[in-house]
């Protein structure tokens, strides 16, 4: 144990802390406040327009997930009549109502801002055309596209067929029109659904080589334009456009699941048919259409959102990344190779020299890929063990693991099937690994395996050396460029023994037997964190200077919040950098005066988890895969890794302090639950992410011998 925590049996019991509902913020509302902060970024006029548009898409994607997962859960509680109050004292119904209110206001604000962005884009040559804008030549082009790509794959479904409900896939845009016709002059009306094909792009390009502009028409508009083609010689009304979100909180019952993989496949199917949580209908739909949609989805009027503009703003991800409009995007900050590894050097040699700490994405994720790829090719490597949670498409890591298995190495992979939304993709790759001879575990019964760790066992001059990667982020090359995270690469023997023990535990080879350095959830991680906080609390009570700095994505767990309140009461100075949900109220007299909370929303998604405790002047520093949420601490397999390398500890302390000094993007939480940017002029404001980018660039420059000397790739 790196801590010198006092003997738990002799620590006096803390004075009783009576916490009431006023001391907690509701989780869902806190999340909406987070998404609002992201929307604030969209509203920033000092950001390039395509960056703003990207953030807009992010808020839309966030909101979709929120509805499908959280509101779905609330809905279930309501339906089951469970009046369970949350920590802030709200029943499911109360939460649902407040959420709906705030969400509606949020959506209104989204589209207001969109209205400001549209002319800005238009000005720069990115323009969405609606049907009235089209020239005859453009219409012809679109007609060709429709005939070739859309018509053959779009299958209209008549409402009233029993199959109609099944035809409403979640999150897809669907058109509903009324067709009047019939041969013998009878006006028989029927209503028809046209779901947009999921595999077609949302934006249909209208080439305009002369102007160099980027012109496009939304797919639903193209369908609407040529809708008559589906119903020749019949009258078709203007179609309503709508979109359904379903409850995806249906999770696998893995306690009894004999074959987890096929259970998973069933769940994926069920999700297609679960009840609707939210229906978005584009403004302009007739009342009759609205009613039909509502009934078709089995929903209530309260679940209907009237959208003042085009549906599904996630489409703006594509707009944000179109090529050729670089001046409308942010200047990228380079991701630098770490200075701890000499170019061309074996990753194993580099790690042997000393622990390597990486701050992504300012420092490239490549060394982690190198670890697995080199391990796969190295004949001295005996075994590779890894946990995969959310991997990239065409993951290099999985490819390397497959190669390693084929080369006869002992490859053990825990592919967490229960990683939300990625299950389908995870299943495929699991099969590839099995066929190559790797040992696959589909997660652990009852717990999601969220830890991020990789272990390589390598024979060196006879005996076995263990190389490890511990991280705060997933093994995903794509997200590693968008999220901030911390990685530790080490070959310390005691950490290696713990890593082996950890894998033995999660693969069921061994029961949990204590670790000497690491802590794991659910076997003691929570207890260790509490013991660190209480140790600081005790120091403050003894009159010592006591301080805690924590960085995480969400703070929701009641027991952890209570421990922090107690610490504050005792006089511990607590600074929290919480990106998203924060259920703790800082600044309450007598409870949390010593706690301050800042949330940073900026270019990269803040994702790292770093915990720092002053410990009387010899600080203990940890990185973790877990946030302070009940699900992490009690219902998931997580890892807490102490940092022993002095340089690495200093760096992490610096990273934390830079975050707390962020006045450009660091919103401060007030006791009433609102977030505010500090009142600082733009010139004087510190922007933490920019500072890290600058620092890293400087480090890289200093490390390079000279810009006029090239580094060759030599054969190994």
């Amino acid at each position: 144990m790196t801590s010198s925590s006092p003997n738990p049996e002799s620590t006096p019991a803390p004075p009783q802390l009576r916490l009431t509902e006023e001391h907690f913020i509701n989780r869902e509302l806190s999340w909406l406040a987070f998404n609002s902060r992201v929307l604030d970024e969209v509203a920033r006029v000092d950001l390039p327009v395509l960056e703003r548009v990207k953030f807009l898409a992010i808020t839309a994607s966030n909101l979709d997930e929120f509805f499908m997962v959280r509101i779905g859960g609330l809905q279930l509680l309501r339906e089951q009549g469970l009046r369970v109050r949350d920590n802030a004292g709200l029943t499911p119904t109360q939460q649902w109502e407040q959420v709906q209110q705030q969400a509606a206001a949020f959506v209104a604000r989204q589209y207001d801002i969109l209205q400001q962005l549209v002319p800005l884009m238009k000005e720069k040559g990115i323009r969405r055309l609606i049907n009235n804008d089209l020239s005859p030549a453009q219409r012809t082009l679109l007609r060709e596209y429709f005939d070739e790509h859309i018509f053959p794959v779009l299958s209209p479904v008549v409402v009233d067929d029993t199959g109609a409900r099944a035809a409403i896939p979640a999150l897809n845009i669907i058109l509903l029109c009324t067709v009047t016709g019939g041969d013998s002059g009878h006006t028989e009306k029927r209503h028809v659904l046209l779901p947009l094909p999921a595999n077609l792009p949302r934006h249909v390009l209208v080439p305009d080589p002369d102007s160099g502009q980027f012109l496009y028409v939304n797919l639903e508009d193209v369908v609407a334009l040529f809708i008559g083609e589906f119903f020749p010689a019949e009258k078709v009304s203007a179609p309503a456009r709508f979109r359904v979100s379903r409850n995806t909180d249906i999770t696998v019952d893995d306690e009894s699941a004999f074959d987890l993989a096929s259970e998973m496949e069933e769940v994926l199917e069920k999700r297609l048919k679960s009840p609707a949580i939210r229906i978005e209908i584009e403004a302009g739909a007739s009342r009759e259409h609205t009613r039909i949609i509502r009934d078709l989805c089995g929903a209530r009027t309260a679940q209907i959102y009237d959208i003042p503009g085009e549906l599904d703003l996630r489409a703006y991800f594509q707009i944000a990344s179109i090529s050729g409009f670089e001046e409308l995007k942010v200047d990228p900050w380079d991701s630098h190779p770490t200075t701890a590894i000499t170019p061309g050097e074996s990753i194993f040699d580099a790690i042997k020299r000393g622990d390597i700490l990486l701050h992504h994405p300012y420092e490239s994720f490549d060394p982690i890929l190198a670890l697995v790829e080199e391990a796969a090719a190295d004949p001295n490597v005996i075994a590779i063990k890894q946990i995969l949670y959310r991997t990239a498409k065409n993951s290099r890591i999985i490819s390397a693991l497959i190669r390693a298995a084929q080369a006869g190495k002992h490859v053990t992979v825990l592919v967490e099937l229960k990683a939300r939304f990625d299950e389908a993709r995870n299943l495929e790759r699991a099969n590839d690994l099995i066929n190559a001879g790797a040992q696959i575990i589909y997660g652990v019964a009852g717990l999601k395996t969220h830890a991020k760790v990789c272990l390589v066992m390598r024979r060196e001059s006879g005996h076995m050396t263990r190389y490890m990667h511990f991280g705060t982020g997933n093994y995903n090359e794509a997200t590693s460029k968008l999220y901030t995270d911390i990685s530790l690469l080490t070959c310390r023997a005691d950490f290696g023994a713990d890593a082996s023990a950890f894998f033995n535990t999660v693969t069921g080879r061994s029961r949990f037997v204590h670790f000497s350095k690491l802590s794991m959830a659910p076997y003691g991680l929570r207890e260790r964190l509490l013991s660190m906080i209480r140790s600081e609390t005790e120091r403050a009570r003894q009159g010592e200077s006591a301080e805690i700095m924590l960085k995480m994505n969400a703070l929701e767990d009641r027991q952890m919040i209570a421990a922090l309140y107690e610490a504050s009461q005792a006089g511990v100075k607590i600074r929290l950098n919480v990106r998203g949900i924060c259920c703790l109220r800082p600044g309450i007299k007598g409870i949390s005066e010593n706690i301050s909370v800042v949330s940073i929303i900026d270019r990269y998604l803040e994702h790292a988890r770093i915990f720092w405790f002053r410990q009387g002047g010899k600080p203990a520093v940890f990185i973790a895969s877990a946030d302070f949420m009940n699900r992490n601490l009690s219902k998931r397999v997580e890892l807490l890794t102490p940092i022993e390398d002095r340089e690495a500890r200093k760096r992490l302390q610096h990273i934390l302090e830079v975050h707390f000094a962020d006045t450009a993007r660091g919103r401060v939480l007030k006791a009433d639950g609102t977030w505010h940017l500090p009142n600082v002029t733009a010139a004087k404001a510190h922007r933490s992410q920019e500072q890290f980018a600058r620092e890293m660039a400087k480090r890289a420059r200093q490390a390079n011998e000279s810009p006029d000397v090239l580094v060759p790739h030599t054969p190994k």
Binding site: I382, F512, E527
Partner: protein, 518 residues
């Protein structure tokens, strides 16, 4: 699952493995030798297996348990395969409580089938030696305990060992049928409230604990040391270790035991996560240690620092080399037994010394492992205990006595050998149909014959029981072994004895023995 071996060099890996089928779990430890030649742990695994529960409840290992054991071994072998450890570097041991299961042969056979190696029951001797070594190490680090009179108890799954040290030297040793699981299975249902359980337990073990207390009632006990996997794993919670030991107050232990007994298994893991070793035995182990401490009126217990389970496993990995100090303690214990039976101390010591010299100098003739030197010396020390009963046929009385007493530090195999050597130090040579001798394997019988020959010679050299021959030197010459003596002018008596008794020596080693003055 592909069974391809990793494409590395074909040298055997330096790692060794030990699998131990214990009272409530099966453990695997993979270790390798460090620069000092000591084994250090590389990896350790542990899985629950209700062996003790089956034995103390039904006297038989259940089918289910046997199958579970097979599954566990399969997994452990897979782990070994990752390191490329060959079967020759795997040792498989089981707890000695297994001997109390009626179907233990079947169980052992299954273990062999699934592991590829023959299992050995951990002998009492091994366990005693380990407990002794842990205690010794602690005494070396801890001046307070070393100076005083220290009583050491190890409550195992089925038996308790007690060792008593006076000023750091072994003074007494005894063994009792008091065990964590033995007791636990005998008392009331597990659903009993914790306090009830404690009461029942104390009641149940009262008899044997009283017996233990009685055995040590006439000695002064300054400190009580409690050794054991479970108590050592919780000790850090009850106080920091100083000089190799934790001082645990009885009240604190009682409070902790009570607290832990109220937790469900899930909570127990999280509560003890820092030093957790597996939940089945924790409560009963703490309760039993507490009960013993209470009976002794201790206000505190000393608990050695360190991971008992791991030390046991690493110890099993080495070939059980015995330290010189340990050997002397064994000899000391043997002397105590000799005293008890009023043997001629001076004669016994003298013969033992000759025996040692003969063993060492004739190594090239007998080719026996060094551990048999100790067996021979103990046999030399105790060969005449039978005189206590009657001088007539005293060799047979010696056999009976030595077959039925505990000799500190010796495995039961060794003890049988000592007993047989005492039997054969005079009169008839061993015959294949003789009791006990006939139970030995051919190899073991050979060892007895070789050692008996040495013992007879050593004994003959002090035929007078007056230590007339002070020292000897060996000079082989053709088919004669000249023994040059010092101290006696006339060695006729001894030569007659040799001629009478050392036909065995001639038969085994091919040498006639001639005494000569040097």
């Amino acid at each position: 699952m592909s069974e391809v071996t990793p494409p590395v060099s074909f040298k055997t890996p330096p790692e060794h493995a030990v699998i131990y089928v214990g009272a409530a779990s099966v453990s695997l430890v993979i270790g390798r030798k460090d620069d000092k030649g000591q084994f250090i742990r590389i990896e350790s695994l542990d899985r629950p297996l209700p062996v003790a529960r089956d034995i103390f409840r039904a006297r038989s290992i259940s089918r289910n348990t046997v199958d579970q054991a097979a599954a566990i071994l399969r997994d452990y072998l897979q782990t070994m395969r990752e390191y490329g450890i060959p079967p020759s570097q795997l040792r498989l041991f089981t707890s000695n409580i297994l001997a109390e299961a009626v179907n233990h042969e079947i169980f052992l056979n299954r273990l062999q089938v699934h592991s590829g190696v023959a299992p050995s029951l951990i002998d009492d001797g091994n366990m005693t030696r380990l407990v002794y070594q842990i205690a010794q190490r602690m005494l070396l680090k801890n001046p307070l305990l070393a100076k005083g009179n220290t009583f050491v108890s190890h409550i195992g799954p089925g038996n308790t060992r007690a060792i008593y040290f006076q000023q750091g030297r072994l003074a007494a040793y005894s063994n009792y049928r008091l065990g964590i699981f033995r007791a636990r299975e005998a008392i009331a249902t597990p659903d009993d409230e914790a306090r009830q359980q404690m009461v029942h337990l104390e009641e149940h073990i009262r008899g044997v604990v009283d017996h233990l207390a009685q055995d040590y009632s006439n000695v002064k006990i300054d400190h009580h040391v409690a050794i054991g996997a479970e108590i050592q794993s919780v000790a850090p919670r009850l106080g920091k270790a100083r000089h190799g030991a934790h001082r645990v107050l009885e009240n604190d232990l009682a409070r902790l035991t009570d607290k832990l007994s109220r937790l469900n298994p899930d909570e127990l893991v999280r509560e003890l996560h820092v030093h957790y070793t597996g939940g089945e035995a924790i409560i009963p182990a703490l309760q039993t240690n507490l009960a013993l401490a209470r009976r002794f009126g201790d206000d505190s217990l000393w608990v050695p620092e360190g991971d008992f389970q791991l030390e046991l496993m690493l110890d099993l990995m080495t070939s059980g080399s015995r330290t010189a100090i340990f050997q002397e303690e064994v000899m000391q214990a043997a002397c105590e037994i000799g005293l008890r039976f009023k043997t001629d101390r001076k004669h016994a010591d003298h013969v033992a010394n000759f025996a040692r010299q003969l063993f060492r100098e004739l190594q090239h003739l007998h080719g026996l492992d060094a551990k048999y030197e100790l067996v021979l010396r103990v046999a030399a020390t105790l060969h005449e205990v039978g005189m206590f009963i009657s001088p007539r046929e005293h060799h047979k009385h010696s056999l009976y006595i030595l077959m039925n007493i505990e000799i500190f530090g010796l495995s039961s195999n060794d003890r049988v050998m000592v007993a047989l050597l005492a039997r054969y130090h005079r009169r008839y040579n061993p015959e294949p149909n003789h009791p006990h001798f006939s139970d030995l394997s051919r190899e073991e019988r050979m060892i007895v014959l070789k050692l008996a020959a040495l013992l007879r010679l050593a004994d003959s050299l002090d035929r007078s029981h007056a230590q007339r021959i002070k020292s000897i030197q060996l000079r082989p010459e053709g088919t004669r072994l000249n023994v040059m003596t010092q101290g006696a002018d006339d060695t006729t008596v001894e030569q007659i004895a040799i001629d009478l008794k050392c036909d065995l020596f001639r038969e085994i080693y091919g040498y006639d023995i001639i005494l000569a003055k040097s």
